[in-house]
C-alpha cells in the first residue's frame, strides 16, 4: 500500500489539477453558466497551487510510479511551463473583450483538461500513457478550437483539426502497434537497452535483421509528434486552425500544445537513443533519425518563413512563424545530445515569453482595432505606445536579435548545431532568421512607420501590465539568461 500512497504523492500535482478541472466544471454547473469570470479566478488560484507544488519538486530525486509515470525534473519543467501558459491563457480569456462574459465556464475546464493530458504526456516512457495523454490533450483542443459555436471559422477550424488530429493520432497509434510488435514491449528504455533474443527482444534484432519495418514504425510514431509540433509535412492544419480558433485558444495551441509535443519528442528520443546502456546499433539508428530530423528542421523553418512572408493577417503570420520556430527547435533535437536538448528546452522557454507576448498583443489589437490585418494596425503604435513597443520587443526576440531571450535561445541552438556537425543546418537557420525579419518587421513598420492612426487606443491596464511584464522578461532574460539556462540544465538530468 505504501507504494500506492507514494505514487499518489508523486502525482499529486496531476491529481490537484484534475480536481481543479472538476471543480470548475461543477462550479459552472452550479452557477448555471452565470458569472464565468469567477471560474476563471478559481482556475488561476488552482493553477497557482499546482505551480507551487511543482516548483517544490524541482531538483528532486527522479522516480517511476505505477510502472509508467516518470516523476522527474524534466517533466516538472514542462509541467511548470504548461501551468504558466494555461494561467496566461486564462488571463487572456478573462481580458478578451470579444468573448462573452457568461456561459463560458467550460472554457476553463477544457483548458485544464488539456493541461492534464500534457502532464501525463510529458512524464512517461511508456507508449500507452503517452498516447493517452496525447489524446486527452487533443480532444480538449478540438473542443477549444470550435469553442465559438456560432462562428463558421471556428467550426471549420475545429473540423479540420479533428480530422487531421484523428488521422495523425491514428497513424501514430498504428506506428506504436508496429513498434510493439517488432520489439515486444511498450517501454522505450527497454526497447533501447534490450539485447539478445529473450522476450522482450527490443530493437536490436530487428535492426540487425531488417530496418525497413522499424523505419516505417518510426516515421509513423514521429508523425504524431510532428503533428503536435507542426513540423512539415504534418503542419497543414496549423495556419487554418490557428486562424479560425479563438485567439486565446490559438495561444494555447501555439505555446502549451507545441511544448507538449516537443517534450514528448524529447523524451521519446531520449529514452530510445540516449539512455544508459543503449545498444550500439540502436544508437547508430538514432543518428539516422537525427539526420532525418535535421532535414525536416531545414524544410520546416524554410517553409514556415517563406509562407509567413506574404500574410496580411497577423494571426496567420504568427501561425506560420510558429511553424518556423518548430524548425528552429528541431535543430537542438536533431543533435540527439544533451546540450542540444537543453538548447531546445531553453528555446522553448524563450518561445514561451515571446509568443505569449505576441499573441497577447494580437488579442489586444483585435479588441482595439477590430481586425487582425497588419494593414489595419497602421500608425497604431503612436496611439498605444507601451503595448506597441512591447510588441517590438517580442518581434525582435522572435527574429532572434539581442538583447532578447530569443537571441540567446537561438545562440544556444546554433551552438549545439555547430558543435554536433550540423553547421549546414545552422547556416540555413541563419538565413531563415534574416528572411523572418521581413515579416516580423512588417508589423513594426505598420505600427510606427506610418502617420498616427485615428482610432483611439483601448485602456486595459492590467492586461497591458501583463504584456509589459512579459516584454521586460523577454529583454531581461536576454541580458541575463543565466538563470533560465541553469534551471534548464538542472531539469535536463533525465
Amino acid at each position: 500500500m505504501d507504494i500506492y500512497l507514494d505514487g499518489m504523492k508523486a502525482i499529486a500535482p496531476e491529481l490537484v489539477l484534475t480536481a481543479l478541472a472538476l471543480v470548475t466544471l461543477v462550479a459552472d454547473l452550479l452557477m448555471r453558466g452565470r458569472n464565468s469570470r469567477f471560474i476563471g479566478y478559481i482556475t488561476l488560484a488552482g493553477l497557482a497551487v499546482v505551480g507551487m507544488m511543482l516548483a517544490m519538486r524541482v531538483g528532486a530525486e527522479p522516480q517511476t510510479v505505477f510502472g509508467m509515470v516518470e516523476v522527474d525534473s524534466f517533466g516538472t519543467f514542462f509541467k511548470l511551463f504548461t501551468v504558466a501558459s494555461v494561467a496566461v491563457v486564462t488571463v487572456f480569456v478573462l481580458s478578451d473583450r470579444s468573448e462573452r462574459k457568461d456561459g463560458i465556464g467550460e472554457y476553463y475546464f477544457l483548458l485544464l483538461g488539456a493541461a492534464i493530458g500534457i502532464f501525463f504526456m510529458v512524464s512517461t516512457n511508456h507508449l500507452l500513457l503517452l498516447m493517452l495523454g496525447l489524446e486527452l490533450l487533443s480532444l480538449a483542443s478540438y473542443s477549444l478550437a470550435g469553442f465559438h459555436k456560432g462562428e463558421r471559422k471556428s467550426a471549420e477550424a475545429a473540423m479540420k483539426y479533428v480530422v487531421f488530429g484523428g488521422l495523425s493520432a491514428g497513424v501514430m497509434l498504428y506506428g506504436i502497434s508496429l513498434l510493439y510488435g517488432l520489439t515486444g514491449t511498450l517501454e522505450l528504455d527497454v526497447m533501447a537497452t534490450q539485447a539478445g533474443n529473450a522476450m522482450p527482444f527490443g530493437l536490436v534484432p530487428q535492426l540487425d535483421h531488417n530496418v525497413i519495418p522499424v523505419a516505417i514504425a518510426m516515421v509513423m510514431v514521429l508523425a504524431g509528434f510532428a503533428y503536435k509540433m507542426s513540423v512539415v509535412p504534418f503542419h497543414f492544419w496549423t495556419p487554418d486552425v490557428y486562424e479560425g480558433a479563438p485567439t486565446p485558444v490559438t495561444t494555447f495551441l501555439a505555446v502549451a500544445s507545441k511544448a507538449a509535443g516537443v517534450a514528448a519528442l524529447l523524451r521519446f528520443l531520449g529514452a530510445l537513443f540516449m539512455t544508459e546502456g543503449v545498444q550500439p546499433v540502436v544508437e547508430w539508428y538514432g543518428d539516422r533519425i537525427g539526420m532525418l530530423l535535421a532535414i525536416l528542421a531545414a524544410v520546416t523553418m524554410t517553409l514556415g518563413n517563406l509562407s509567413a512572408l506574404r500574410q496580411s493577417s497577423l494571426k496567420r503570420m504568427l501561425a506560420y512563424s510558429s511553424i518556423a520556430h518548430a524548425g528552429y527547435i528541431l535543430i537542438g533535437v536533431a543533435t540527439l545530445e544533451p546540450d542540444g536538448f537543453s538548447a531546445a528546452m531553453y528555446y522553448m522557454a524563450a518561445y514561451y515569453f515571446m509568443n505569449l507576448g505576441a499573441f497577447g498583443v494580437l488579442l489586444y489589437f483585435e479588441s482595439a482595432v477590430g481586425s487582425d490585418r497588419i494593414e489595419d494596425l497602421k500608425g497604431f503604435g503612436w496611439k498605444a505606445p507601451l503595448i506597441s513597443i512591447t510588441m517590438v520587443a517580442f518581434l525582435v526576440s522572435l527574429t532572434g536579435l539581442p538583447p532578447t531571450v530569443g537571441f540567446y535561445g537561438k545562440y544556444l541552438l546554433f551552438k549545439a548545431g555547430i558543435d554536433h556537425g550540423l553547421s549546414w543546418l545552422v547556416f540555413v537557420a541563419a538565413i531563415n532568421s534574416v528572411v523572418s525579419l521581413f515579416y516580423y518587421f512588417s508589423v513594426a513598420k505598420a505600427l510606427f512607420l506610418s502617420e498616427p492612426a485615428q482610432r483611439p487606443a483601448l485602456s486595459q491596464p492590467l492586461f497591458a501590465a501583463l504584456l509589459t511584464g512579459l516584454g521586460l522578461l523577454t529583454i531581461w532574460f536576454g541580458l541575463m539568461p543565466g538563470s533560465i539556462e541553469e534551471f534548464v540544465q538542472r531539469c535536463l538530468l533525465l
Binding site: V163, V171, M218, A223, F234, R288, I289, L309
Partner: protein, 725 residues
C-alpha cells in the same frame, strides 16, 4: 658686410616667417576682412611687402655668399643650407612614439639653396607687386576681401613649396596651390555682374581636374621612389638614386617613376597634352593670371624638375625634351591666331614653359638655362599680364585686340612696360629673356653636337622656330593694341591710364624684366658669354659638368656622362656663338614679319589665312585638343559613370532582386519581395501562381482532405528517405 652672412640660427627663423606672415594675414582677412577699413587690402599688401623684403634680404645673402665665398678650385662653395643646421626639423607624422629617424616617420625641414633663394625672391617680388596691382585693378569687386585672402594664401603655398626640403611637402603645397588656383580662377563665377560667370565656373573646375591628373602622376612617381629608397627628402633621393645608378645603372622602374614625376610637371606647367586648362584659366582676374598662371604656380612644375633632376633617367630627359619642344612650338602657333589679349599671353606662357622644360630635358647647361628662364620669365610675363590687365582695365574689360589700337598715347606707361617685356620675351639682347632663352637654344645645339637624341634634334629645330613665332605674335599684340588707328571708337574714347598702384607695379616689374638677366651694365657682356648671376649663385662650373652647387655631393649620372670636361667646354663655347646668331636672326625675322603685317600693313594676314585655310582653322581651334579631350576622356568618364550607375542600380542591387526573381519560380518570396521592394513596380502576385512555387501556395488549399493527402505523401517520402539512406 657682416649682415649679409647667412646665419642659420636667425635666418631659418626668418625663412619660417616668410610663409607665416601671409598666412597670418590670410587668417585675419578671411574672418575679419570684410569689416576692416578698405576691406583689409592694405594689411595683406603690407604683409607681402615685409615678406618680399625678407626674401630679398635672404636672396642678397645667398648672392653675397656666391660672389665672395671661395672653394678649393676658386669657384664659390655651394650655397646650400638645411634647417637641421639650426635644429629646426619637424617630425610630422609621429612625435610621440617614433624615433625621429624611423622609416615610418617623416621628418621635414626647410631647404634653402641657390635655386630656392632665387625662386623665393621671385615669388616674393611678383606676389607683392601683384598685391599692389590688385589694389587698383580689383577695386569695386564685390568679393574684394576674399580675393585678397585667396591670393595671400596662394602665396603662402608657393613660398612653402619653394622652401620644402622633401617631395611630400612640396606636393602638399603644390595641391594647396591647386586649390587656390581653383578658387581664384572661379572668382568671377560668384559675381552676378560678370558676363562670363558660367565660363568661369567651368574653367576653374577644368583647371583643378586637369592638374589633378598630373598631381596623381606625381604622387605615383614619388611613391615609387619611396618604395625603393624609403625617403621623401630631395637630398636623400639624389644620393640614393645616384649611388644606385652607379652600381646598377639606370633601371626601367626609374624611367617609369621619372615619367610619372614628369607627369606632375605636365599638369602644373601646362605641357602638352594637359595644357588645356591654362587658356581657360584666363577666366580668372588678370592679377591672378599674372601671378599664378604666368610667374609662380605654373613655374612650380619647372621648379620641381630642377629639384628632382638627379633622379631622372636619360630616357626620361629625352621625353621631357620632346614634350617641352612640342609644347613650345605648338602653343606658339596657336598664339599667332588668338585675338584675345590674355589668350595670346596664355599661349605664350605655355610656349615659354615648353622652352624651360625642353631646356631642362637637354640637361647640364639646359637645366640651368631652363631654371633661369623660369626666373626671368616670371618677371616679364607677370609684367606682360599686368600690362594686359592695365589695358583691359583701361578699356573697361574689353579683351579683344581687334577692338583696340592706338592706345600708345592714352596709356604711355603701360605701353612702355609692355614693350620692354615684349622685347624681353622675344629674346633681344640687353633684355633678360635673351640671356636665358639663348642658353636654352645653346644647350640644344650642344646636346646635338655631343650626340643627341631624336628629341634634342627636334628641339634644335622647334625651339628656334618657336622663338621666331614668339617674337611675331608678341609684336602682333603690341602693334594691334598700341599702334595704328583706334578700331573701336567707343573703347578708345574711354581708355585711360591706370591708377598709381598699378603703374608702379608695372614699372618695377618691367625694370626687373629688363635687368634680371645679366649684369651687362657692369661688365658689358651684352651677348652673355660670361656666367650669369644665376650660374654664379648656383655655383656651376663653366663646362656644366659639375652641378654641385645645385646638388651638393651628388655625382650626376644623367648629365654629360663619360664626356671629357674640356670637350664639353669647347662645344659649349662653339654652341654659344651659333646660338646667339640663331636667336637674333629668328627674333628679328619674327619682329619684321609682324611689322610688315600689322604695323606697315604691307602683308595682309587675311591672305595667309586664306591660303592656308585648313591649317589656319586647325590652329585657330587649338588643334581640336579640347574637343578631343571632351570626346574621349570626359565623355568616356561620363559614359562609364552612367553605365556603372545603371549597373549599380539594376545589377548589384538586383542581385538581391534576382534572388527574388529566382524565387519567382519558388513562390511567395518573390511576390512579397517585389511588393515590398519594388513598390508597385511589378505586380508579380499573378505571375507567382504560374511558377513552380505556386505549388507551395496551392498546398494550403483550405481543404482538409487534400491536407491529409499531402501529409500522407510527405510521410511516405520521409519514410522512403529513412529506408533508403
Amino acid at each position: 658686410m657682416e649682415f649679409l652672412h647667412f646665419d642659420p640660427a636667425t635666418d631659418f627663423k626668418l625663412l619660417l616667417a616668410v610663409p607665416l606672415i601671409p598666412l597670418t594675414g590670410y587668417l585675419i582677412q578671411i574672418f575679419f576682412g570684410r569689416k576692416l577699413p578698405r576691406k583689409g587690402d592694405w594689411l595683406l599688401t603690407t604683409g607681402m611687402f615685409v615678406t618680399m623684403m625678407i626674401t630679398l634680404l635672404l636672396f642678397a645673402k645667398a648672392l653675397y655668399h656666391a660672389y665672395t665665398g671661395h672653394g678649393d678650385d676658386g669657384h664659390a662653395t655651394p650655397f646650400w643650407h638645411h634647417s637641421s643646421e639650426a635644429g629646426m626639423t619637424w617630425s610630422w607624422l609621429f612625435q610621440d612614439s617614433e624615433a625621429p629617424n624611423s622609416p615610418l616617420n617623416l621628418t621635414v625641414g626647410i631647404l634653402y639653396d641657390g635655386l630656392g633663394a632665387s625662386m623665393l625672391a621671385v615669388v616674393g617680388v611678383v606676389s607683392f607687386f601683384v598685391h599692389l596691382f590688385s589694389m587698383g585693378y580689383m577695386k569695386g569687386d564685390h568679393r574684394y576681401h576674399i580675393f585678397f585672402a585667396n591670393i595671400s594664401l596662394f602665396t603662402v603655398a608657393m613660398l612653402g613649396l619653394v622652401l620644402s626640403d622633401n617631395i611630400l611637402f612640396l606636393f602638399v603645397f603644390w595641391e594647396v596651390m591647386g586649390l587656390m588656383s581653383y578658387l581664384l580662377i572661379g572668382h568671377f563665377s560668384h559675381d552676378p555682374k560678370s558676363h562670363r560667370i558660367t565660363q568661369a565656373a567651368a574653367a576653374c573646375k577644368k583647371a583643378f581636374l586637369t592638374t589633378r591628373i598630373g598631381d596623381c602622376c606625381l604622387f605615383i612617381g614619388f611613391m615609387m621612389f619611396y618604395l625603393h629608397y624609403q625617403t621623401f627628402s630631395f637630398d636623400g633621393l639624389w644620393q640614393a638614386t645616384t649611388q644606385d645608378v652607379m652600381v646598377n645603372g639606370w633601371q626601367s622602374w626609374q624611367t617609369t617613376a621619372g615619367l610619372f614625376l614628369f607627369g606632375g610637371t605636365v599638369g602644373k606647367s601646362a605641357q602638352f597634352p594637359l595644357h588645356i586648362w591654362l587658356p581657360d584659366a584666363m577666366e580668372g582676374p588678370t592679377p591672378v593670371s599674372a601671378m599664378i598662371h604666368a610667374a609662380t604656380m605654373v613655374a612650380a612644375g619647372v621648379f620641381l624638375l630642377g629639384r628632382l633632376y638627379p633622379v631622372l633617367s636619360p630616357d626620361v630627359l629625352t621625353v621631357i625634351t620632346g614634350v617641352g619642344a612640342l609644347t613650345a612650338i605648338f602653343a606658339a602657333t596657336i598664339g599667332m591666331t588668338v585675338f584675345d589679349i590674355k589668350g595670346v599671353l596664355a599661349y605664350s606662357t605655355i610656349s615659354q614653359l615648353g622652352f624651360m622644360v625642353a631646356g631642362i630635358g637637354t640637361g647640364g647647361l639646359g637645366l640651368i638655362a631652363g631654371l633661369f628662364h623660369m626666373v626671368t620669365h616670371a618677371f616679364f610675363k607677370a609684367c606682360l599680364f599686368l600690362s594686359a590687365g592695365s589695358v583691359i582695365h583701361g578699356c573697361h574689360h574689353e579683351q579683344d585686340m581687334r577692338k583696340m589700337g592706338g592706345l600708345r598715347k592714352k596709356m604711355p606707361v603701360t605701353f612702355m612696360c609692355m614693350l620692354v617685356c615684349t622685347l624681353a620675351i622675344s629674346g633681344i639682347p640687353l633684355f633678360s629673356g635673351f640671356y636665358s632663352k639663348d642658353k636654352i637654344v645653346q644647350s640644344t645645339i650642344m646636346t646635338n653636337e655631343l650626340g643627341g637624341t631624336w628629341a634634342s634634334s627636334f628641339a634644335g629645330i622647334a625651339l628656334p622656330l618657336a622663338a621666331s613665332i614668339t617674337a611675331f605674335y608678341m609684336f602682333r599684340l603690341i602693334f594691334m593694341t598700341f599702334f595704328g588707328q583706334p578700331r573701336d571708337k567707343h573703347v578708345n574714347d574711354h581708355a585711360h591710364e591706370s591708377p598709381l598702384p598699378m603703374t608702379i607695379a608695372l614699372t618695377c616689374l618691367a625694370i626687373l624684366g629688363m635687368f634680371a638677366g645679366q649684369f651687362w651694365l657692369s661688365n658689358l657682356d651684352i651677348m652673355g658669354s660670361h656666367p650669369t648671376w644665376f650660374e654664379t649663385l648656383l655655383g656651376v662650373s663653366h663646362d656644366y659638368t659639375n652641378l654641385s652647387g645645385l646638388y651638393p655631393g651628388v655625382e650626376l649620372q644623367n648629365t654629360y656622362v663619360g664626356l671629357d670636361a674640356a670637350k664639353v667646354e669647347a662645344v659649349s663655347h662653339h654652341a654659344h656663338s651659333s646660338a646667339v646668331v640663331l636667336s637674333l636672326s629668328v627674333a628679328s625675322l619674327g619682329i619684321i614679319l609682324a611689322m610688315l603685317m600689322y604695323l606697315f600693313k604691307r602683308l595682309d594676314p587675311a591672305k595667309f589665312t586664306e591660303t592656308f585655310a585648313p591649317i589656319y582653322r586647325t590652329v585657330l581651334n587649338k588643334y581640336y585638343i579640347d574637343e578631343f579631350a571632351n570626346k574621349t576622356v570626359i565623355r568616356g568618364s561620363m559614359v562609364l559613370s552612367a553605365v556603372l550607375k545603371w549597373f549599380d542600380g539594376f545589377i548589384v542591387d538586383g542581385i538581391v532582386l534576382s534572388v527574388g526573381r529566382i524565387n519567382k519560380a519558388l513562390g511567395f518570396f518573390a511576390a512579397w519581395f517585389d511588393k515590398t521592394f519594388i513598390d508597385g513596380l511589378v505586380n508579380l502576385v499573378g505571375a507567382v501562381s504560374n511558377g513552380l512555387g505556386a505549388a507551395l501556395r496551392l498546398l494550403q488549399t483550405g481543404r482538409i482532405q487534400q491536407y491529409v493527402s499531402f501529409a500522407v505523401g510527405g510521410g511516405l517520402l520521409t519514410a522512403a528517405w529513412l529506408i533508403l539512406s
